[in-house]
């Protein structure tokens, strides 16, 4: 990309004139290239002077309470924007907030019921793992426990938190075939222990390799491990 077209891309993103694809493209460029990130920041600051010209409005009552209530909640989809109003009665706002509370309550109830069903199901019917692997780092410290079921549903329990920059993500790999390439089982995008599912792989077998590498945000660009190895280990079948 020429400097000129990069400048234009940056300006159009900052102004809000770019489409989603262009925004994503620029964000990716900025993640990879500190120079692009600096130029983006510079453009934001230039136009940011216009943000400072907006009125300072007083915050609505109870805003903090509403924000705080959502901080511990699991990520949920942001509510759809409301359509333009077809009337201007004040009651409408009231009705909308009642509706919002009602939806929140019903949503919470539904989530609780779903959780109960899922938990019940997994406690009662989950078969044990067919293989277990303890992943070790290069100093021999255990960093994760991997348990995989017959269908390659893989539960990863992290035992250490990797020291990695925020633009990287942990990616989990296995080698179903000793002589074949590693296959990605998925990303630990939250940076926490997680369960990954994948279809189309043979049932895991003892001595199968598992490893976690640190890859650029979004996962390995080549679909093969490229980053440093956080930990690796060979699977064993549990004694039953």
């Amino acid at each position: 990309m020429t400097d000129r077209s990069l400048d234009l891309l940056i300006d159009e993103v900052v102004l809000g004139l770019a489409g989603d694809a262009d925004i994503a493209r620029l964000e990716e460029l900025a993640r990879q290239d500190p120079d692009v990130a600096a130029r983006l920041d510079q453009a934001r600051q230039r136009f940011g002077a216009l943000d400072d010209t907006a009125d300072v409005l007083s915050l609505p009552d109870g805003l903090w309470a509403r924000v705080e209530a959502r901080l511990d909640a699991p990520e949920q989809h942001v509510p759809q924007a409301k359509a333009a109003p077809d009337n201007l009665i004040d009651l409408d706002t009231l009705r909308q907030s009642v509706g919002r509370w009602r939806r929140a309550a019903l949503g919470g109830l539904a989530a609780a019921m779903l959780l109960a069903v899922v938990l019940g199901w997994s406690v009662l019917s989950q078969p044990g793992p067919v293989v277990v692997a303890v992943l070790l780092d290069d100093r021999g410290e255990a960093i994760a426990l991997v348990e995989s079921g017959r269908d390659n549903t893989t539960q990863i329990t992290l035992l250490e938190r990797p020291d990695m920059p925020s633009n990287q993500v942990m990616q989990v790999w296995t080698k179903p075939d000793d002589d074949g390439p590693p296959v990605s089982l998925g990303l630990l995008s939250t940076g926490r222990s997680d369960t990954l599912t994948i279809e189309g792989l043979p049932t895991p077998s003892p001595r199968q390799l598992y490893e976690i590498t640190l890859e650029p945000a979004g996962g390995s660009p080549t679909n093969l491990p490229t980053g440093p190895i956080f930990g690796k280990g060979l699977a064993k079948a549990p004694v039953t």
């Binding site: 934001r44 600051q45 907006a54 609505p60 509403r66 924007a81 925020s166």
Partner: protein, 188 residues
């Protein structure tokens, strides 16, 4: 509330780092220091108090969730915070898919030309007289300046700008581009 906090110099970057470490009071401090202005920015773009409040609330939650992605070496904290707010507002505006020219008056919340011009003039006048941005915007053709200000300040898409100016979409696009390049030349 926001005015009071304005007396202090707020270190946005430290507050974001504290948010990433799970300190809710840091987010509250950020809200008290910056929330009033953020609400003003959202109100200008969304034109409705209830939508602006929704946008601010969503943005604060997003800031909390994304705080760990903020990297001080990559840019200013204030710029990062406002980018989240502006993206949120734009998403809300663009959901109505307005890439087609909109003639003034067809939608309830479309501003009439006078109000539109008043808001833009006000934003322009409030830029400090010594501000580089102001001086460089001043050097643009009035129509180009108006187009660039409409997109940043009011969140207008190319289509909406075209609708307001009664010009074809294609010419508005190339026109804004030329304006942006000129603006850059002037600012650098």
């Amino acid at each position: 509330m926001a005015g009071k906090a304005g007396h202090f110099v707020t270190d946005h970057a430290s507050l974001l780092k504290a948010c990433a470490d799970g300190d809710k009071s840091a987010l509250q401090q950020l809200m008290l220091a910056e929330g009033g202005r953020m609400l003003g920015v959202a109100r200008r773009m969304l034109r409705r108090a209830d939508l602006a409040e929704d946008a601010l609330q969503e943005s604060l939650v997003l800031i909390w969730r994304k705080a760990h992605q903020f990297d001080e070496t990559r840019g200013s904290a204030k710029g990062w915070v406002y980018a989240i707010l502006r993206n949120r507002c734009l998403t809300m505006l663009r959901r109505e898919d307005r890439e087609v020219p909109v003639s003034p008056g067809t939608l309830g919340e479309v501003l009439d030309d006078t109000t539109h011009q008043t808001i833009l003039d006000e934003a322009f006048e409030r830029l400090g007289t010594t501000s580089d941005l102001r001086q460089c915007l001043q050097s643009l053709e009035p129509g180009t300046r108006r187009a660039i200000l409409s997109s940043y300040v009011l969140g207008y898409s190319h289509g909406e700008i075209a609708g307001h100016l009664g010009a074809p979409l294609g010419s508005v696009k190339s026109w804004v581009r030329r304006g942006l390049l000129k603006l850059r030349e002037c600012l650098s």
